[in-house]
Amino acid sequence: MPEPVLRLEGLRKNFGSLVVTDDVTLDVMPGEMHAIIGPNGAGKTTLINQISGLIVPDEGRILFAGADVTALPPEARALRGLSRSFQISSILPGFAVLENVALAVQARDGSSLRFFGRAADEAALNAPAMAALEQAGIADRAHVRAGELSHGEKRALELAIALAMKPTVLLLDEPMAGIGREETELQVELLLRLKGQLTMILVEHDMAAVFALADRISVLIRGRVLITGMPDKVRADPQVVAAYLGEQIE
């Protein structure tokens, strides 16, 4: 029985008197695509923020590859192989697209306390960055100022940055948010290609994408995990249908 690559134990987070994460226990197995779904306000983004380290849980533990990372800051988790994309594109708009990704490569390529030499010219950083851009499908935009990208291209850049970190676990926070049908299909294809190469946690509202991609699904309602299981089982579960999927009929 393989060990989970990511384990959440009894996570709890309150904002004032509002309980946002309510005793969440979850296992993510290596190589799987694990989707987390739930209605708006279920606490999905807060959960992702706790996993990546931007929010500190009030109670509970987070174990990554067996090690307790609950107290580690985001940069430490990133260096251990935990990478994430943001729901609202979080890129460096003033930098070129290539540099955005090259920085992600740089974080792993030895010391950044180097005061000499033009970083933008380093082939050792640019080559892997280019490769990540190709994977994400926006290699042709490499030298454009990132702030000038279209919304869909920015989502692709988000993904490229995340991939360039050579992660063990990739957190995808609503990658399909706000992009059209065609681009969604491209993203789904890309993620299908990545399946098996790394572990992915996908937070999404787009049910078609979720069911096309997920190996297992966890349903989050009001901060609690209602059920975790294979897509067909989750789909058919009456509690889930009642609480959530019922609203999602398209």
Binding site: E99, R145, A146
Partner: protein, 331 residues
């Protein structure tokens, strides 16, 4: 194509590389030729003003590193200048006046102070950061005023300019002027190289989106602290030059008004350009010279000018020049 050139300087209101080199070369050429002009026009005081411009420019360039590239608005930068100056003054008062000792001490003291206070300051963000740097600057100021054996409020006269390895090479004003020019050039080149290095890129990225940089894997606070210490050291360097220029050290060198003036110099020239810091220092001192010819209370005029610059002349003098250049038909 132009997009790529501009993008390479990520997130910063940078000039295109060739134009930047031209501007920098011009600036330093003007400074280099000033003494010649001064003696031809028989206006020796220009030498003093020029030297002052360059001394403050060293501090301003360091401050631009913090403000314009690292996004750290430090309102206590004068403290480093003052510490450097006092290092020279105090050592001199005890008979040690060789630059080979005074300079490293000046830089070391300011770097130490930057490190100790930086650890605390960088735990805060935004406005808290501004105010805590302001307060630490005040702290140093008050310590200086209470140093009775070193002049306290009135300051301390330095017996003579520092010697270099025993030789009084800086005694002549002209020699000191060129020495200062070299120091400014070195500082400028160092900062230019720094901002495009790996380290500089992390700083600029952090200014743009700190959360993103953290989730990529950078301990942003550590990099900011290093930047803060470097800027502090350069501030101390400026203080060393200041003490030698005026042969006097005073708590006024580290007052918060002085910190404010340094920020003004950076803004006036154009924040985030490095050249702007030098231009701004020159512009500020020129304004001071010119306006105080009208009235002793020249700041009554300068204050509103400052407000107008903030409201209407974004990007300072360089920004203004850029816009005029573009408007006159050049791309």
């Amino acid at each position: 194509m132009t997009g790529a050139l501009l993008a390479a300087e990520g997130g910063v209101r940078a000039l295109r590389p060739t134009r930047d080199v031209v501007l920098a070369t011009l600036m330093f050429l003007v400074f280099a030729l000033l003494p010649l002009f001064a003696s031809l026009a028989a206006k020796q005081y220009l030498l003093d003003i020029g030297a002052r411009m360059m001394v403050f420019a060293v501090a301003a360039v360091a401050l631009d590193l913090l403000v314009g590239y690292a996004g750290l608005i430090s309102f206590g930068h004068a403290a480093f200048v003052g510490l450097g100056a006092y290092a020279v003054g105090i050592l001199s008062a005890h008979g040690i006046d060789d630059a080979l000792i005074s300079l490293p001490v000046a830089i070391a003291v300011s770097m130490l102070f930057a490190w100790l206070t930086g650890i605390v300051c960088l735990r805060t963000k935004g406005a808290y950061f501004i105010m805590i740097t302001l307060a630490f600057g005040q702290m140093v100021y008050f310590i200086a005023t209470s140093l009775a054996p070193y002049g306290g409020d009135n300051g301390l006269t330095v017996a003579a300019r520092n010697t270099i390895a025993g030789w009084p090479l800086l005694k002549s004003d002209r020699a000191f002027y060129y020495f200062t020019l070299l120091c400014l050039l070195a500082t400028y080149l160092f900062c230019r190289v720094l901002v495009v290095s790996r380290f500089g890129r992390v700083l600029r990225g952090t200014k743009e989106n700190a959360t993103r940089m953290a989730t990529i894997g950078f301990d942003t606070r550590r990099f900011q602290l290093v930047a803060y210490v470097i800027a502090g050291g350069l501030g101390g360097f400026s203080g060393f030059l200041l003490a030698n220029l005026t042969e006097f050290v005073s708590p006024a060198y580290m007052s918060w008004q002085q910190s404010g003036e340094l920020i003004v110099m950076v803004i006036l020239g154009g924040v985030g350009t490095l050249d702007g810091a030098i231009i701004g220092s020159a512009a500020y001192l020129i304004a001071e010279e010119w306006l105080s010819g009208f009235t002793e209370n020249w700041k009554v005029i300068f204050g509103p000018i400052l407000v107008l610059v903030v409201l209407f002349a974004r990007g300072g003098l360089i920004g203004l020049a850029s816009r005029l250049w573009r408007r006159s038909g050049h791309a």
